[in-house]
Amino acid sequence: MRHGMLRIATVLGLVGLATMWNPAPVGAADEVRIGVVSPMTGPTAKFGQAQKNALTMAGDDVNAAGGIRSLGGAKIKLVFGDTRGEADTGVTETERLITREKVHALIGAFQSGVGFPSSAMAERHQVPWLTFGTFDKITERGFKYVFRAHANDTIKARTLIEGLVALGKRASQSIGSAVILAENTEWGKSVSDKQRGFLEKAGVKVHFVENYPYAAPDLTSLIVKAKGVKPDLVVADSYLGDALLITRQMHEQELRPVAYAAGGGGHVQPDFLKNMAKLSDGILAATMWDAAVGKAVPWIAKENERHVAKFGAPFTEDSAGYYQAFQIIVDALERAKTTSARELRDAIAATSITDVNHKAMFLPYKALRFDDTGQNPFATAMVVQIQGGKFRLLYPESIAEPDARVVWPYLATTR
């Protein structure tokens, strides 16, 4: 019996030791570590990779220029964590980056559903977190360490609708009715609700909003239903696969609204353009950033060209957002003159940038400040239109491409 007990104890002890694998973290004293929380694997891995590219370029730039001057030239070290697109993994990764990798600030997490609890983790540990994620509530929890420089769902939805109305006026077209087709995910539901609200406020009759199952193989019935109410405007909030399906099936079922708009997501992916050719002509979309903004702000175009040269692809909407977040942190570090969490946080909160040539204005706004919820009240989105396989930036006027005109209606070229 005792022999057996000894054996059990040995086995259990070995198991216990095995779970102890715990390589000590290496943290140089004079470097600044910024944690990046992204989906590096899983279905949205492509986005994570784009974000990594953008940040790597930004980080290398800062380090090549001498690092953080006010910290004696301290170099930036980016530490990447993988959320796999899942909330619990995001939370665990955030914790790992904070407690083991000892990062001084974090950027994350792309999916709002992941960023939401993960930023709460950062708040718990009192480490500054720059959000990339549009879910309104991320900055509505009374947190002190969570910030968002870019537009949230409400702003994006408002921009889209106001833009549609304004562009419609320019083309002497009016939109009387609409349907909204959104995927049945957190993002789709949230965005579509807001869009409905703004449409109704603008006097547009919303016949119905349907949240269809993500990745369905066939959406004919949905399109038929939409066709039945003869809407002037069809708004779609989908990721790439469904965006392709909806667009194709609208064509098949001969649903040709006056305007076809997207809340973002799949419709603004380069792959959408690649696969949709003519059918994409005239689609309007809300986005937080498009390369065309470089026409109004030259340094952004140059930066984009460098990115293309380095990685073979331009910035994406989200990688641009991550880039902006990074620049804000760098700016704050310079002002804080320390990496201590509390003071860094205060420096971020005190951010006030109005110079359009500042690197943090990669997503250009009237100003970059944070209100007491941590949201930038000056953040805006923009409306682009796909014309001839390219995105043309049309709204708001301050950053619109000077030589771009809105093309109306949808599929005007093929009618």
């Binding site: 492509k46 990745a215 193989p217 066939d218 392709l244």
Partner: protein, 292 residues
Amino acid sequence: MRGLAQAVTSGLLIGAVYGLIALGLNIVFGTMRVVNFAQGTLLMAGMFMTYWLWELGGVHPYISPLVTAPLLFGLGFAVQHLFVSPLLARERAREPMSVLLLTLGLALVLENVALLFFSADFKTVTTDVSMQTFKIAGLIVSVPRLVGLGAMVATSLVLYLFFMHTDLGRAVRATGQDREVARLMGINDFRIYGVAYGLSAAMMGIAAAVLVPFFYIHPGVGTSFLLKAFVIVVLGGLGSMPGAALGGLLVGVIEGAVALWVQAAVAQIVLFAVFVAILFVRPAGLLGVERR
């Protein structure tokens, strides 16, 4: 009314594609009682093969089964031989749980290997027929899906004849009914299983050829079809080829109609409810002959 007619028409067409996949599943699940959770990933493999043939060789998807079907057959045969047969040999139950878990593990591996090598990007193939439509009596019919309907009808006919009127087909059915007895009667069950599983996998090559022109290719694409295929096989009647075909059409129509009247997401619930109901009310399914 026109809306309903259109929804039903489109439902029939997509249902035909479901039916094709269900036919494949029916071969292993319906006749051999192998609960094949890897059916979806085999479809995915077929779709990737079809995609690469198009991208690298310019081979039109509708011709690709000439290559993909034999390849998949081999893959299916190998899987059966290496993994499933040893299990079936030692299990007494008719549909052993271990086989379900094994194929589940296989599906995990296949899907994530594809993810590793091909990344999560959506790939599409646009061919001449991809977006063609024509009208019959004012109803819009999508050409690639019509092709799918044709393929499904032809395949179910061929399979029906195979299973009912050939020795090999009958041997497969016998093995499904009672493995022990079949073995005692001299049927080399391992080889039979291999053929059946290979056939089931080869069928995914045909389904892939039909799907690729109008559906995106992605490592996770099989999962969405898998559960539906199970519903169809049970609805139509395990082992019945016409049943799987009919079941597919029915599921497509139900989906389309419910999506029109209520909401597409509700259609999912309805289908699962139908599945549960069938298992309790009429376990043999619509056209099944099996009595428990």
